[in-house]
Symmetry: C2
Subunit: 259 residues, 2 copies
């Protein structure tokens, strides 16, 4: 059964896109098939995997607003096992464009479940969310089985966590009763930094087993990879960032397959 | 004359809040009076300056939605020369709450200009924007004289710059003809990192004089300061981060007073 995972955190710059891209790559290396849906008007997941952002192509905006079948907006990438539904800046007016639509929170869920979606061919659908708790992120939370939360080991990032958990509870109560937290992954972690260690300790205290054992270290190769339009697993297979994301993919599958 | 500056960039985590707080502190040290308006539902500027986020207090949400005079929502901080209009998560529904209001893009501008705003007592009004190009950021761009853009020296951050410039042009054409770019400040810059040097070179090539000479280095003391609810200028006056933000405040005033 295809599992849908939303990668979400309203705090900006915590590693949502980087985790969505490199977890997808790690899962593909382990033989899984992945559809990555870019739900952020910035379109970073689209370009980070080497796709052009073109106004002529169909994107997730067309799927949500014009009921274009998901299949028609899906693009192949040059990475085996990963397909992408791209995003462009059109998406930034989605809140306003969809306001009159009563089913506005369910559009992505319906698109993934429609007969023409053909999503059963994927083991996983990974959704990269924008840095906000707006209608797009709510759509992802309604459509998803679970939420993967990248958590930067910084003060402002920890501050936002309680609000994120509150929103998840609200979506679970109003629209998606089975929604659960897949896990929390510490990102851009610098072991030499006291604050980072304290944030990690706080997170494990409060959230326990939800926090993955795998920690993604700050590693410049990770931030260089998108400028070469590829996951760090391809860009520098021997880097610390690659090792961490491969480890995360393994741990993710162990948790998935245990359930 | 009071100058209003919006600190904006839809890319998440690039240092908007950190720059809004520490530039305000730098200007206050140089004898200027500053009103910092937190326009981000995350409320990071509010807590970063030591204020509580309480549902009982008046916030920028009440100013925009219930026409509460700005003065009534303004709070003192323990830092001389800096007052704050706080934000809470109520603000995250602003797009939807304001949709029916025809003047929805002008609400902040009108609040700053209203007779009960009493803004003439401030030399500068600094607005911390959320990581998106939604109605809140548009309100800031309509209300501001100019936009200060923090630019992280990373690939995804550079990718978003052209979209930001496009939105600024659109606001200038539709609602605020005098809107200009105050400047672009490189943030979290790591001189040892090739990508960072390349992004800086690209930015200076494309944007020339708009890019401040001052570069803010990545400095752990900067990210520790908010957990002690103070600007880095107070938290660690001898740090590299403090030196950079003091330098930025000087350069900012030189540009301001030259015009
Ligand atoms: N482990 C890491 N080490 C070094 N740099 C990283 C790491 N993870 C992410 N980055 C870089 O940090 C920046 C922020 O990451 P990213 O864009 O993935 O975050 P995001 O949460 O998707 O941001 P947004 O909120 O804008 O969508 C990017 O420039 C990225 O390349
Ligand atoms: N010069 C710096 N050196 C080290 N860390 C920094 C620096 N500037 C900012 N930070 C840290 O990086 C993170 C992102 O910065 P900040 O929250 O100010 O960005 P932002 O653009 O306001 O984010 P958002 O898009 O979520 O509003 C914060 O945890 C902050 O403490
Ligand atoms: Mg992203
Ligand atoms: Mg911020």
């Amino acid at each position: 059964m295809t599992k849908t995972i939303a990668v979400a955190n309203q705090k900006g710059g915590v590693g949502k896109t980087t985790t969505a891209i490199n977890l997808s790559a790690g899962l593909a290396e382990l033989g899984r098939t992945v559809l990555l849906i870019d739900l952020d008007p910035q379109g970073n997941a689209t370009t980070g995997l080497g796709l052009e952002k073109s106004d002529d192509d169909l994107t997730i905006y067309d799927v949500l607003l014009s009921e274009v079948p998901l299949r028609e907006a899906t693009k192949l990438t040059s990475f085996e096992g990963i397909e992408v539904v791209p995003a462009t800046t059109d998406l930034s007016s989605a809140d306003i464009d969809l306001i009159a639509n009563e089913k506005r929170s369910f559009l992505l869920r319906d698109a993934l479940r429609g007969p023409a979606a053909a999503t059963s061919q994927y083991d996983y659908i990974i959704i990269d969310c924008p840095p906000s708790l707006n209608l797009l992120t709510v759509n992802a939370m309604v459509a998803a089985h679970s939420i993967l939360v990248p958590l930067q080991s910084e003060f402002f990032a920890l501050e936002g966590l309680s609000q994120l958990m509150k929103t998840i509870r609200e979506v679970r109560e109003s629209a998606n009763p089975d929604l659960r937290i897949e896990g929390i992954v510490m990102t851009m972690h610098d072991v030499r930094n006291n604050l980072a260690q304290q944030v990690e300790a706080d997170a494990r205290n409060v959230l326990g087993e939800l926090v993955y054992k795998t920690i993604v270290p700050r590693n410049v190769r990770v931030s260089e990879a998108p400028s070469f339009a590829m996951p760090v697993l391809e860009y520098d297979p021997k880097s610390k960032g690659t090792r961490a994301y491969r480890q995360l993919a393994k741990e993710f599958l162990e948790k998935q397959e245990k359930v």
